[in-house]
């Protein structure tokens, strides 16, 4: 079986369009950021308290809210779905113990005869939230540096490494923006999903860069644009097949995985498309632009006799 036969699309020639598309999407993300008033950080990063309680019978949102307010808990977010309720309080939790007790007493008084189980309690102190954010940033930062160094070493050009990392940043930023757009909460699971996207993005980029490196060796004289186009077209089939398989997995997680994995799967679906897009339409055109610029400068320098060479 085979999806497509021989293909020959001029990707590099359309690089202006693709740069503009990237900028437009980024602008949409910035718009979402402003519209939503910044990301909706979960208690992992803000510090605070989260309780998930399940009842035996369905409970109403308004009933739960009044019960909690009467019980002396103020400024909290409440989510309910049938038997399940989720209480979130950000920043302002003075005593974890007190919060837990107040909530439990208030609810058991309001709903007597409707047995409840506390499924989940999360408490994150402010210093921990700060620590978690800092560590996540460190992780991303050093991973980026590591990748730039390795790619620079393997492909004998820092440009390629930087282009690869720009691709990752592009994909991670837009995925992040897409999370803000649908107003999902940013917790550690979202960070893990963004990291998955980063891994997928660089993997895809390296596959293409590798083909470019091989083609460069094979035909030194070939025009750079032709060479890059040829490489993209050669790995295109593989890209399509791989993307389809990743899509299958993320699709299953998205539709069947339940609430916990939902956001994760959503980011995977968005990020898979982005990973492919950035490789073809961002990283390789960037390499082209920079490589041409470098050659031009080199040529100019040679003409002035500053550099000797063939």
């Amino acid at each position: 079986m085979k999806f497509i036969n021989s293909i020959n699309i001029d990707f590099i020639g359309k690089r202006r369009t693709s740069f503009i598309i990237s900028l437009v999407i980024l602008a949409i993300c910035v718009g979402a950021y402003i519209y939503r008033g910044g990301p909706n950080y979960g208690i992992d990063f803000t510090g605070g308290m989260l309780m998930q309680i399940s009842f035996e019978e369905n409970v109403g949102l308004q009933d739960v809210r009044t019960a909690l307010e009467a019980g002396g808990i103020d400024s909290f977010e409440l989510q309910t779905s049938e038997k399940l309720i989720m209480i979130r309080a950000k920043h302002n939790v003075e005593s974890q113990e007190e919060f837990e007790n107040k909530a439990k007493t208030a609810l058991s008084e309001k709903f007597p005869g409707n047995a409840m189980t506390v499924d989940k309690v999360e408490y994150v102190g402010p210093s921990v939230g700060e620590y978690l954010s800092k560590q996540a940033l460190y992780a991303f930062f050093f991973a980026f540096i590591g990748i730039i160094i390795y790619v620079a070493f393997r492909f004998k050009s820092t440009l390629w490494g930087v282009a690869g990392v720009i691709g990752i940043i592009h994909d991670v930023l837009i995925s992040f923006g897409m999370v803000i757009l649908v107003n999902k909460e940013i917790d550690l699971t979202v960070i893990a999903a963004l990291l998955t996207i980063a891994g997928y993005s660089i993997n895809d980029t390296i596959v293409l860069f590798d083909r470019m490196r091989e083609n460069m060796r094979l035909s030194v004289k070939e025009d750079l644009a032709t060479m890059i186009n040829k490489s993209i077209n050669a790995v295109l089939l593989r890209t399509v097949v791989t993307t389809v398989t990743v899509f299958i997995v993320s699709g299953c997680l998205f539709f069947l995985g339940g609430e916990v994995i939902h956001t994760f799967a959503y980011i995977m679906v968005v990020g898979t498309v982005l990973g492919v897009y950035s490789t073809i339409f961002l990283c390789s055109p960037l390499v082209y632009e920079w490589e041409m610029g470098r050659r031009k400068r080199l040529k100019a320098a040679r003409q002035q006799g500053l550099v000797r060479g063939k």
Binding site: D119, V121, A136, N203, D210, C252, L256, E259, I261
Partner: protein
């Protein structure tokens, strides 16, 4: 031939290793719940070999504690204090009887504790957080002491308020005898002025609950070590007819009159305890006192029911995804797809074997890491197969095309995996909690997937060619 041999032998070795490493987990999965509970109680060695599930998968409590360094003795280094606190908490939890707890230092003054499968996090937290600073102090009834008490009452403050900030009340401090301070009592029978601690809980060797006293109420009997016993004997001898206060966490539990010298290093603490209080107190006294109070700064408790539901869904959907991918690979690549699928399944088995052998914890983000690993493994095979297709189209024979395909794509796969591995290693280094769980499966998975996707599939092709089973080759 030689080539086939190292591939074959390393594959066989890995498979044997996997079966061996996963055997305890299989046994464990087949055990009944009762047998599991029994094994946990007896600390059966099988527990150390079973694949570990994270708290998000099997329920339990994760706590992060901060040692309150502001209340630390000046000449104690915070590092030593945190080390000691970690040790003491470990002892206390061991006595509490939690199967496979994890207690470790994190950073400068944090201690992370994981208690899998625990049903009552509240009493565990109480046990962990108890400072249990036990002191024996002589009650000071001198004129100065009474003056200080009067001043305190005039000001209408409690002994706690005074001790928190002695410099705010200089007249009380002046009135107090050297080294003495003011304490309240558990019985609410007024305040005591106590001399500096004559002896602390550090010199205890044992503490146990007894049912003695006048009304058979629980008391805690304690035993001192040799030096402690000698000191106790000295103190009781020198202070006959005075009151000796037993102070626990800055609250006077009781202050009996010393009738005679106590030479055998034994004493009892009466404090109107209920049985549960007494048991808790005896436990913390045995395990030792914390060098400084600890505060819970992070808690994540997952009830077992939540685990069940969302986890079944999570695993179910991941499994559905993998099966669909296997079907897709077969439909699209036929025989080669089957070979790739075989490698994919082996990849999963070896990955789980390493997780069990190295005793890494599998968490929900870890499952996501496995998903990414599998995607990369599929990708490696797709890369190889597409390349072989290219070579076939260029007119090469099956055997040559396969060899060329593998050879040309090897470095691509290598580079792609190593770059991702670099990211994973840093995530492991800096990541906490879920991110770490993700990084673990991803890093192990990447290394294994390179082996299964390249070595094992190639081995199968070589075998098929050698036996002349694969003459016509189409992808």
């Amino acid at each position: 031939m030689g080539k086939i041999n190292w591939k074959l032998w390393s594959t066989i070795a890995l498979m044997v290793f996997s079966v061996w490493a996963l055997w305890p987990s299989l046994q464990w999965a087949r055990m009944s719940d009762d047998a599991k509970a029994k094994a946990e109680k007896e600390k059966n060695p099988i527990l150390g070999k079973v694949a570990k599930l994270g708290l998000d998968l099997k329920g339990g409590t994760h706590l992060l504690l901060e040692v309150d360094s502001s209340k630390l003795d000046e000449n104690v280094k915070i590092r030593d204090a945190v080390d000691r606190a970690t040790e003491i908490i470990r002892n206390r939890i061991d006595q509490f009887g939690v199967a496979e707890p994890m207690i470790a230092k994190q950073g400068d003054k944090w201690i992370v504790i994981q208690l899998p499968g625990i049903k009552d996090p509240k009493s565990a937290k109480e046990l962990i957080g108890k400072t249990a600073l036990l002191e024996f102090r002589i009650v000071n009834k001198s004129a100065e002491a009474n003056k200080a008490l009067d001043l305190l009452r005039d000001k209408g403050i409690s002994p706690e308020e005074y001790r928190e900030n002695p410099s705010a009340y200089p007249e009380i401090t002046e009135a107090l005898p050297e080294g003495a301070s003011i304490f309240s009592s558990k019985e609410d029978t007024g305040y005591y002025v106590l001399d500096k601690a004559a002896l602390t809980g550090a010199s205890l060797t044992n503490a146990k609950v007894e049912f003695g006293g006048q009304f058979g109420q629980p008391i805690v009997s304690i035993e001192f070590n040799k030096e402690g016993g000698r000191a106790f004997s000295d103190i009781t001898e020198r202070n006959i007819e005075r009151n000796l206060a037993i102070v626990l966490d800055d609250v006077v539990q009781s202050a009996p009159v010393i009738r005679s010298r106590i030479p055998d290093g034994k004493a009892i603490i009466e404090g109107n305890f209920n049985a549960e209080d007494a048991r808790l107190l005896a436990t913390v006294l045995r395990a030792g006192a914390l060098p400084a109070p600890v505060n819970v700064i992070e808690e994540r408790t997952v009830g077992p029911s939540l685990g069940d539901d969302s986890i079944k869904k999570g695993f179910g959907s991941a499994l559905a995804g993998v099966i669909l991918v296997l079907i897709f690979m077969f439909v699209y690549y036929r025989l080669s797809g089957m070979i790739a699928n075989f490698a994919l399944v082996i990849n999963l088995v070896i990955l789980m074997a390493f997780m069990a052998y190295l005793q890494f914890t599998l968490t929900l983000p870890g499952v996501a890491g496995i998903a990414l690993t599998l995607a990369m493994a599929v990708d490696a095979n797709v890369l190889i197969l597409e390349r072989i297709r290219e070579e076939l189209m260029a007119g090469k024979t099956a055997r040559v095309a396969v060899d060329a395909g593998y050879q040309k794509v090897f470095w691509t796969i290598f580079d792609a995996n190593i770059t991702t591995l670099i990211a994973a290693v840093f995530l492991f280094q800096f990541g906490t909690g879920p991110i770490k769980g993700f990084a673990v499966t991803l890093s192990i998975g990447l290394v294994i997937s390179m082996f299964t996707a390249i070595v094992i599939t190639k081995l199968i092709y070589e075998f098929l060619f050698k036996e002349n089973l694969l003459l016509k080759f189409k992808i």
